[in-house]
Symmetry: C2
């Protein structure tokens, strides 16, 4: 409550102190509004001396551009809309990915707005709404499906977007993906190296592209080494932990039971470990488990399991890069990023 700062109202801290506008700055600096606008925007038509004078005055007056006015005039929102699935997303994904995007967008003036989809009956409705109301310059979403209706819609309407995960559309579009095929191959091979002969994939449904990649990679490795592969239905991104556990229990628990598990996610890993514990099998002894690790917490699962990293924070950062590229109209090859699991050939940041 100090009164060090200039306060013409003399009253409560800057309650209605009118913020300086371009006109204020223009008058003070002795230039036209247009000139000031251009000077601050870095327009090359403005003389260097003018630019300096203008930014000095703007700084002194504490000028801050009015985002709403800019938005109205230019039609650009400086907002990126992230469609997030908050249900059944229990562990690190949301916060890591979000954190990464934030990092990647820092300093660009872009804000992230969240829409938790899954609430609207029709998930396309959320996107239509964003487009119709011009709520964002670009859209991102996760859990991308092979022929995702959201992708189709956005492609048709030429609205900027990027997906977490590739699709099977022939039209190329921006994405960031993790090489799940390589991941699956690596995971299966590790289990094979431990002498396991029947691998169970605890992983999401194949309607997601990454589900297919996982399946493909796992099948490839299994065939190469002549081991049996089981990919149970009934495990999905939407599954409650209890459903996953039920699915695992429903697997033939006889002599032909799996002796190796690949868990594609922290929830799945925890549930699998609980299941194995409940039926009296110990990872590292009768069975082995390899899991995707998306945060340091996986190190504290017990019994210890092997992990292969997916850096979700890096994924978020890459996503920011891709989106900015898309908005500024970069060529498609700059907007398709495939991240490799650790230990595999990885691309530079």
């Amino acid at each position: 409550m100090t009164r060090k700062t200039f306060d013409p109202t003399g009253g409560r801290a800057a309650e209605k102190l009118p913020r300086p506008t371009l006109r204020t700055v223009a008058q003070e600096a002795g230039f036209a509004v247009t000139t000031v606008s251009r000077a601050l925007a870095g327009d090359p038509r403005i003389a260097e001396a003018t630019r300096e004078r203008v930014s000095e005055v703007a700084g002194r007056l504490g000028y801050v551009p009015n985002r709403a006015a800019q938005r109205l005039r230019t039609g650009r929102t400086k907002v990126i809309s992230l469609l997030l699935n908050t249900r059944h997303e229990f562990l690190s994904f949301t916060s890591e990915f979000l954190g990464g995007m934030s990092e990647g967008l820092a300093g660009t003036g872009y804000a992230i707005t969240i829409t938790a989809d899954g609430l609207a009956d029709d998930r396309l409705e959320v996107i239509r709404n964003i487009r119709r109301h011009s709520l964002a310059d670009a859209i991102v979403f996760t859990r991308t499906e092979c022929f995702d209706d959201r992708v189709r819609y956005l492609l048709e309407h030429d609205f900027p977007f990027a997906t977490h995960g590739r699709t099977d559309f022939t039209t190329p579009h921006p994405y960031v993906d993790f090489d799940n095929e390589v991941f699956a191959r690596m995971a299966v091979e590790r289990l094979v190296a431990k002498g396991r002969r029947h691998i169970c994939m605890v992983m999401p449904n194949e309607r997601y592209t990454f589900g297919q990649h996982l399946r493909f990679g796992a099948r490839q490795a299994a065939m190469a080494h002549g081991v049996q592969l089981t990919v149970p239905d009934g495990v999905d991104l939407d599954s409650e932990p209890d459903e996953i556990a039920a699915t695992l229990r429903s697997l033939h628990a006889g002599p032909n039971a799996p002796d190796g598990y690949v868990c594609v996610g922290e929830v799945m890993a925890l549930v699998t470990l609980a299941y194995l514990n409940d039926i009296g099998l110990t990872p590292g002894v009768e069975v082995d488990v390899v899991a995707k690790r998306a945060s340091p917490i996986s190190n504290h699962f017990r019994p210890r399991i092997e992990t292969i990293d997916e850096d979700l924070r890096a994924t978020g950062r890459a996503m920011a890069k891709v989106l900015l590229a898309r908005i500024s109209g970069a060529p498609m090859e700059d907007m398709q990023i495939l991240l490799k699991p650790e230990g595999a050939f990885s691309i530079s940041d």
Copy 2:
């Protein structure tokens, strides 16, 4: 790609089809722009017949108000800014809380924008930025401290906000909190009921208000039952799982070691379980563990532990309610919500 709709460009799907504005609607309906604006806003000065005609025309033309223009004119952004800590927030918190807020804000026209703090050197800078640029109508943040500088700043500048957690400021402000004092008491009592005599609280630092509440409740219960209480330093919200584990290991592991653990968070629970496993103690046998449960995944921790629920989704919904109340200038008592743990007296939603 059908051409059913009017498309003067005759080109690609609605590429630059100018959206109808108030003027368009006004001309079509035969009223003044003002009238149309009022009719759609539900202004009582407009005759019922007029309102009907206007909304019919607006609907037919597919009129959608321009948010940027509204924003510029009214100064209200229809945005709520959520300051989120994405580092060291490994488990359910972010997605559950976010999901709850989304649910609570659904249909109100409010959007949530995320700022991942902890990036800026000065966390106040993030808030100043929001205020200066008018990026939001209200601010929410978590990890509230007893004399939080963010709260002080926002109170001083009379900017709408709500905190997750109470503070020790004399000036009342909007908040949503969970009754951690009751939680701690319940948790300790459960351990006492199992015959445990030395309780260790695995919980965040006391610089957070909720850390103090926890400490207070635990101490109360411990004294009432004459059991020993240990609250190790070195466990905090920012702690990496490994640090928490190190802290647990550094506790006197002799005859006076704790035989009961209260874990205030899923990360802390997992780390504690890993630690106990590593030193060969089994919950339910030599020791007992009670944890806060914020998502169904806690059911799959092994060995099984007792849990007490904190409904973060409900917290998020309550937060939305509080914020809307604050923005529309409701009395303070509507903006202070204390959620009780399950089993305790709980307030209605």
